[in-house]
Symmetry: D2
Subunit: 337 residues, 4 copies
């Protein structure tokens, strides 16, 4: 529900209305249009009477929002959100950023070498898995906290802010202090306890779409984070599960313009997991940007054939460099009239 206020509404009146609504357990969001001031109400509004609200003389009108997501929706925040990341990196609202790095952190030498390479090519953030969610309990599960330490060294040496996946609430404090962007993996997109806890940290969160989650469900998952009122969210399309087996997943690039229409949150694409094959990463990265993505997350490995995880879908630093040049030219063309 959105309450559109008259221009004449006094700050004290607005404040009183806000408190009234919050006392009913609702989340109240400020929405400022060019000349309008609005309050967005998320939560169970079934007890709020539209007629009652309209009786206040400083209320212009009341609008129901039928979408099941609220805080992530354009209705509640008409302008593009810009997510600010330590180190001066920004994503969204015209700011484009590439996150690059290996699937798993394997050694100091490996992560440092890749970090330097991707930085030189223009990546804005470094990714690397310390805790790895693997379908099989017998597969390599990541280096854990040791991996995170190596990632911090790479950050120190290159200045790149770091992105890594959180898999449980066990290390919330460590992620809060050490990680710049906290990734919620596709398998945990509906791990609601985790979403809520991460939402309290006040950090940027990279939220990956579940392989069988609809776009609506992705936005409701974002709302679980946003409703805590502290963290910002970057959405990530990374492929959905379909009958097609020629690719690991089916990268749903239409989700990019759909998300940008429905939501104010930045949208990045992961063509590495989205396709599962290194030689598809290049064309699909270009296609993602042409479709309107605000950023990319790309697996880069210095020795893909020896990677402990997902080598098949990782590109070399050399190919990454070539891709960054092409992306740059492409973005220039797309932005020009």
């Amino acid at each position: 529900m959105i309450i559109i206020l008259k221009e004449s509404a006094a700050p004290a009146q607005i404040e009183e209305l806000r408190k009234n609504m919050e006392s009913r357990g609702l989340v109240v969001q400020d929405i400022r249009g060019e000349s309008k001031y609005m309050l967005g109400l998320a939560g169970d509004t079934s007890g709020v009477s539209e007629e009652g609200l309209q009786r206040f003389d400083f209320v212009d009108r009341v609008m129901k929002v039928s979408e099941p997501y609220k805080l992530s929706g354009r209705h509640f925040h008409p302008e593009d959100s810009v997510v600010e990341i330590p180190g001066g990196v920004r994503i969204g609202g015209g700011n484009f950023a590439v996150i690059a790095g290996p699937c798993s952190i394997e050694s100091e030498e490996q992560i440092l070498s890749i970090a330097k390479d991707v930085k030189r090519s223009g990546a804005s953030l470094l990714r690397g898995g310390a805790f790895k969610p693997r379908s099989s309990p017998y597969a390599f599960q990541g280096l854990g906290l040791d991996g995170l330490e190596l990632l911090k060294i790479a950050k120190e040496k290159t200045g790149l802010p770091i992105v890594t996946e959180i898999m449980s609430t066990d290390y919330l404090d460590i992620f809060e202090s050490d990680v710049d962007v906290i990734q919620i993996g596709a398998r945990n997109m509906q791990n609601f306890s985790l979403l809520r806890e991460v939402g309290k940290l006040g950090k940027p969160v990279l939220l990956k779409r579940g392989p069988s989650s609809t776009i609506e469900e992705l936005l409701m998952a974002a709302d679980y984070i946003l409703v805590e009122g502290k963290s910002s969210v970057i959405l990530c399309e990374r492929g959905i599960r379909t009958f097609e087996t020629a690719t690991r997943n089916t990268l749903d690039l239409s989700a990019v313009p759909v998300l940008r229409k429905k939501s104010h949150l930045p949208v990045v694409v992961d063509p590495s997991h989205g396709t599962g094959y290194w030689d598809l990463v290049f064309p699909m990265a270009l296609a993602s940007v042409a479709a309107g993505a605000d950023g990319l997350i790309i697996e880069v490995h210095n020795q893909p054939e020896r990677a402990l995880c997902d080598g098949q879908q990782s590109i070399t630093p050399a190919l990454f460099d070539k891709l960054m040049h092409k992306l740059s030219a492409l973005r220039e063309t797309l932005q020009s009239a």
Copy 2:
């Protein structure tokens, strides 16, 4: 990998071999066939030499298991597993059990009334959601610990063991002490941290298949629980996500005979979530049993039209009673030659 021992193998020899393997980080499982004794090795066996093993004179031969799941597979446990639940209830290996109750626990009166009804009709376990995973943060999230207390009252009054869903590691100790069968919901099937923690509790776990998880992935998720060596697992088919919209999910009943072929674990079916409509529950419950299910989990509500959650897919106690009679006749027919 499975090591098949000669009949002449001495217990001390077997014990030494077991320790040798465990020292490499492998999980060793005893497998006793009618006249054969075997050791199943789960974990990274790439460092174990088949030739080396066959040089022991008490080793008959070595068999690779190509399936990515191990402990849940028939290779590692040829006989049906029977899961024992406090209160004398057993599921699997010819033991059939029906779990019934409301989607959410709403009040003492509600849960008690339903518990008595389903017990009278022959249900073996009582289900009821205290913590509810909801796609939207604005939907009813369950009564939480208060709900669990009400469920315990219903258990006390009826003697029915209780099944309820765990959503995070926050209340592991409470679930350990109070709950008879811990349910892992479909959205958490690949919440590997939760699987591992629940696997350490030594309790029966009802593991629901994720809506876009393959049968192989379900068995690998079961392995995450079993590899901790303490808890037992009941598998649950509850519908997969497809393009069809006439039902909430597509109940994949073929998964029942497939799972029974590949795995020794009991398989139950949830026709309530699997279809989403109360009038499909009756025929699909019958079909589940005809397909070979070891049990059912069915949503029963005394006032479905007023249920706070999933009323559309809940049946009344009266229809449940009718169903139980039909199921009983059906099982008799199926078992007779």
Copy 3:
């Protein structure tokens, strides 16, 4: 749109109204309830004024049918349809029938041997592919008209009516004269030219659901046949395409009660194509009947390991015989109170 007439409506009035509607290009269907007489209008009714109709004093009221299918829907035909097949076989409305035979007709000896076996076990119809739709042009395409001749011999020798697939409009006249039930394969479910032509023949049609067709689309495809006003239709669930690869298709058994609710047409299930594995056919055939199917279509081959097509999913005559006994007991149990 359905026009519900008053009891006082005179035959001549009804006839005039019918002609009026037909002159607008609409298909008019008689619907007789217990005490009500109705006319169902299928086609573009946007030009028909409800108010205009209600001004006739013999019209009780007018009902819009929002479902996109009409003639196959229960609204237009509240009672179960019974499809009559030459040889005294009936399907639907409580009449159960099993169609059995090989995937492809391979030789006179093969089809005769199988036909005799399945008849002895109680099959009501003989199936056998003469024209085979194969994904690859390099795979065995069936014996064509020669195969049809062999099928006719088997019919002559056993008395079983025959079911075989039509793949194009080339042999409409031959199918009309020689085949008892014309099968439209899953790949041709939306070959609308073929549906229309077959609809003109006045024969029972076995319409298989396309692997990615919704239940609504299946019913609209049935309408393409029914709208020609001559042929009757038997619907067939044969598995849909999903991400699961443990089975050839995902047999959507919930479609059985859904179709029986929405439509008056008989519903049969094909567990052979639906699962793709012979050892799943037995349990899924039982499950189909428990779900409420009016019949089954089952691939039976005397030498499955040598079959030219789909041997993996064919059962032997011996197993078919065992299945028929079990089905018979199962149906008795289901029908008894």
Copy 4:
């Protein structure tokens, strides 16, 4: 199977080998590499002995092709195919073409107006549906032969070659004489009788991927056309059916680089059907080209809000013009180093 010949092989020897293979019912395809000459054998090669072939002294070696498709595969034709269309239009091998026009032909004025507009903006071919495959028999089915006449008028007036869909074998001769590119719709991708007949016409065929067809099945369908030896094929990705409902279909853009890797045939994308919404057409058309498509097929309507079919997914001539400019700049950027 591919027979690689020695450079010393004499034309007469090759010819004799070809005839030998053709006499076994195989389709023999010439494959000329830079310095190698090869014969591709499609069909049932199980009776061809590799050893026997290698005994010929002009045979270098024999290579099995494990892919189920042959003639459409890169193995059989390493270079990109260029499809030549009357009017000097070429698609494939670096030649890019845009097909534009309305979903359905509605009137002379409509088709002429749109044809002139899209030509002015740079479209190479005119599309327009005369025979429309509609899920419902009660929906507008197209103007049929009258529509085709109008399309011919538009061709005459603008010089644009025409593309339209064939739905049955009834009008093969008319399509042969009047239509420049014959479209096989998604629902008929596995209408094998139609594929074979169209394959005999010697015309370019636009083959749309079925909504639940794998990439392999699309290529096997192309083989059904190619095996007749006369027609050329353009592949078309137009969206697959998944669980996502925010778009009409899920446009599988990864299929573009996958098809270009596996096949030599040109690949075009239909973002209109692929997404179902006009405002997604623009970004997804750009993304298609960035992914490597050889062309696009786009629905353009002068009054989308009044279109008799699929108005929701049609763009206006003005937006089409803007798109063509953007595409042109994009292609230049992609081609430059």
